[in-house]
């Protein structure tokens, strides 16, 4: 089984993101800080087999989000996401 075959997409972290954000996030639109590509979160590349969750841009494959949960806390690194646009709830 290769890393490429283990890739999921943003749909797979819809539940995790709803633990953190109030809104449904898979149709939120993120802008990649590296290449400027705009994609709904559902289209992003997701890897969940690391200790945390790693999310990459489908256009340039740079890391746009890192999410680690443990010991009752979350650590979020969204430095690869320039903007997130989401529906008002």
């Amino acid at each position: 089984m290769t890393i490429a075959e283990m890739m999921l997409d943003g749909n797979a972290i819809g539940g995790l993101l709803r633990e953190i954000f109030v809104a449904e996030m898979t149709d939120a639109r993120g802008t990649c800080a590296y290449c400027g590509a705009v994609n709904p979160v559902g289209r992003l590349q997701v890897y969940v087999h690391a200790p945390g969750t790693v999310v990459r841009c489908p256009a340039c494959e740079q890391v746009v989000m890192r999410i680690v949960r443990g010991g009752g806390r979350y650590w979020l690194d969204f430095s690869g996401t320039r903007t997130l646009e989401l529906r008002e709830t």
């Binding site: 283990m6 890739m7 709830t89």
Partner: protein
């Protein structure tokens, strides 16, 4: 019904009320969930199992039932080396309870009011969220035309085979194209190979019709189907994908 709820997502108890075998490896489990807010076709739930020692395993499963149905049906493939699916498919009995949360998802969803021709492409149990869409479509009077391309290993592995035949027989604009990748039964009229460019040319709506497209299945299948559809001329943004990973469902 059918709203994307802004309420906090909470784990809740779900009671198994119906169990139906679909194929030798796949069963549909219907749950009663108190205060279920309703869902959209294409959404999923997270299921959490907790062992006696506190060890937790979480998996995502697509909802198979349409928004019009009260209970939450999950069609689950049993993966022999999985942590969760062998318990759900094989050990869980009517009246047993599990924890789930949902509905989840706002990207990979389809509403019957969408007038665009619908193209659904599934590998194996990737057909589950697409079946919710077809069941949803079957309940409305004004239907957009729809095509499903379903890739299965063998004839016996075709999930929802008889129900799909009935939906097609209703003659309401749905066509189903089936391919088998590991078997060529005698008398079989469908394809017998992996999805390829020629199959996509046969099945896909012309790009001028700007179809709504949903592709779901194991990651290698989704990658290959999505690339073929873009190669056929579709805008990548039309092609909504949901990947299950290397096996049937993430981690089993």
């Amino acid at each position: 019904m059918g709203v994307i709820s802004p309420a906090p997502l909470r784990w809740q108890q779900a009671e198994l009320v119906e169990l139906m075998r679909e194929t030798p490896r796949v069963s549909t489990l219907s749950f009663n969930v108190m205060n279920w807010p309703g869902h959209l076709a294409g959404q999923h739930v997270d299921v959490r199992l907790t062992a006696e020692d506190g060890y937790e395993a979480e998996r995502s499963y697509s909802i198979a039932s349409p928004p019009e149905q009260r209970s939450v049906a999950l069609t689950i493939e049993r993966l022999d080396d999985g942590e969760v699916s062998p318990y759900l498919v094989g050990e869980l009995k009517i009246g047993d309870k599990i924890e789930l949360r949902g509905p989840i998802g706002g990207y990979f969803v389809w509403r019957a009011g969408d007038d665009r021709p619908l193209l659904l492409v599934a590998g194996g149990s990737g057909v589950v969220p697409l079946m919710a869409m077809l069941r949803h479509r079957a309940t409305v009077s004004h239907k957009s035309p729809a095509r499903l391309l379903l890739s299965s290993r063998t004839f016996d592995d075709i999930i929802y085979r008889e129900e799909l035949d009935r939906l097609v027989a209703a003659n309401d604009g749905l066509s189903v194209f089936s391919t088998l990748t590991r078997e060529k039964p005698s008398g079989w009229k469908g394809y017998t190979r992996r999805i390829d460019a020629e199959m996509v040319r046969d099945v896909a709506w012309p790009k001028a019709q700007t179809p709504a497209v949903f592709v779901c299945g194991p990651t290698p299948f989704v990658e290959s189907a999505a690339n073929l559809l873009v190669g056929f001329g579709y805008d990548p943004l039309w092609v909504k994908t949901e990947r299950f990973g290397a096996t049937g469902t993430p981690g089993g």
